[in-house]
Amino acid sequence: MTQRSEALRPALFAGLGVTVAMVALSILSAFFGFIASTVYSLGRLGGGYLSDGLNPYDLRGLIIAFFTVQLAMGLGVFLSLWLIAPIRPAATILQVVLRSLLAAAVGSVVVLVLSLFVNLTQLVIAGGLTPGVGGFWSFASSLIAAFSTATGALVTAIPLAVLAGLGIVLWRARARLTEPPIVG
C-alpha cells in the first residue's frame, strides 16, 4: 500500500507529461500540415482550393482525438506506472526502459478500447451496424481503424514514456541529493 502511494505522484507526473507532450506534438504537426497544404494550394493550384482555417468538423475530430488518444495514452501510462509496474527507486536502466515500454503498451490498449468504442458509437448513430455481412464488415473496419490509431499512438508514445520513466529516476536521484542529512 505504501509502495503504491509512493508511486502515485511520479506516475501522475509521467502520465500528465506524456499527455501534454503528445498534445504539443499533435498541435505542431497540425500547424506544419496546415502550412504545407496552404503552400501547396497557393503554389500549385493558384489558391483555388485554399483552406479558410479550421472548420468545425476538424475541431470535433481534434477534441475526439484528445480524449481517445492523448488523454487515453496518458491514463494508461499513469495506471501502469502506478498500479501495474511502478518504477522502484533502485531500478536499473533496463528495468526503467522495460517498465516504460509496458506503460506505453498499456496506454495503447486504453487507446484501442476507447477508439473502438467511439468508432462503434458513430457507426450505430449512422445506422451502419446492421446484422449480416455488411454489419460485420463495418465492425471489422471500425476495429482496424481503432487498431491503426492505437499503433500510431504507441509509436509516438514509446520515446515519451521512456523519457518519463528516466525523468522519474533522475527526479528521485535529485530529491535524494537535496534531502537534509540525518543528524544524531
Binding site: 506534438l25 505542431l28 501547396y40 500549385r44 491503426s148 499503433t151 520515446p159 521512456v162 523519457l163 528516466l166
Partner: protein, 200 residues
C-alpha cells in the same frame, strides 16, 4: 585560393580525427533502427486498412506499394536525418558524461535540427532532380522552366516537411541523447571528447 583550400582540408582532417565516433554512430544507428521499425509498422497498418477496405475491388499489389513507400521514406528522410544526427553527436556537439541534463537535451535537440536540415537539403535536391528530369538536360533545356511561385512552393513544402519530421522525431532524438549520456556516466571513457561547439 590554395590557402583557403589548405585551410578547409586541415579543418576537415582535424574534425575527422575527433574521438567519440563510435558512441555517436551507435546512437544514430539505434535511432535509425527505431525509424525503420516505425516506418514498416506504419506501412503494415496502412496495408491492413487498404486490403480490408478495397478487398476484391482492384488488382493492385498493395504489399509491394506499401513496402516501396516505406523504403523510399526511409531513404529520403530517415537516412539523411540519422546521418545528420551522427555528425552532430560526433563532430559538432558530442555528449560527455560531465554535462548537465539540460545541456544533454539541448545537444539532442541540436542533433535533431542538423538531421532535419539534411532532410530539407535532400528534399530540395530531389525536387531539382525532378524538375530537370521533367524538362530535359540542365544545359540544353530552356523550356519549360519551373515558375518562381512553383519553385518557392516546393522549397516551402520541403521546409515544412523537414520541420514536421523534426517535431515528430524530437522525443526519439532526446531519448537517444539521454540514453547515451546515461551509458557514458556508467562506463569510463579513456579519452575526453569535445566538439566544434565546445571550442567556440
Amino acid at each position: 585560393m590554395s590557402q583557403a583550400t589548405a585551410r578547409v582540408t586541415a579543418s576537415l582532417s582535424k574534425n575527422l580525427r575527433r574521438r567519440g565516433a563510435l558512441p555517436a554512430f551507435l546512437t544514430a544507428l539505434g535511432t535509425g533502427l527505431f525509424l525503420t521499425v516505425q516506418s514498416l509498422l506504419g506501412a503494415l497498418v496502412s496495408l491492413i486498412g487498404v486490403q480490408q477496405a478495397t478487398s476484391g475491388l482492384y488488382e493492385l499489389d498493395y504489399t509491394s506499394v506499401a513496402i516501396q513507400g516505406a523504403l523510399v521514406t526511409l531513404l529520403v528522410t530517415a537516412l539523411p536525418f540519422v546521418f545528420g544526427m551522427f555528425v552532430s553527436l560526433w563532430i559538432l556537439a558530442p555528449i560527455a558524461d560531465e554535462l548537465a541534463l539540460r545541456f544533454v537535451i539541448a545537444r539532442g535537440i541540436l542533433a535533431g535540427v542538423i538531421g532535419s536540415l539534411l532532410v530539407f537539403i535532400t528534399s530540395i535536391v530531389l525536387v531539382l532532380v525532378g524538375v530537370f528530369e521533367a524538362s530535359g538536360s540542365f544545359i540544353t533545356s530552356t523550356f519549360p522552366w519551373p515558375s518562381v511561385e512553383s519553385g518557392l512552393a516546393d522549397v516551402l513544402m520541403s521546409l515544412s516537411m523537414a520541420l514536421s519530421y523534426l517535431v515528430h522525431l524530437l522525443p526519439v532524438v532526446i531519448l537517444a541523447a539521454v540514453l547515451l549520456w546515461h551509458w557514458l556516466r556508467t562506463h569510463d571513457r579513456e579519452h575526453s571528447v569535445s566538439g566544434i561547439l565546445d571550442e567556440v
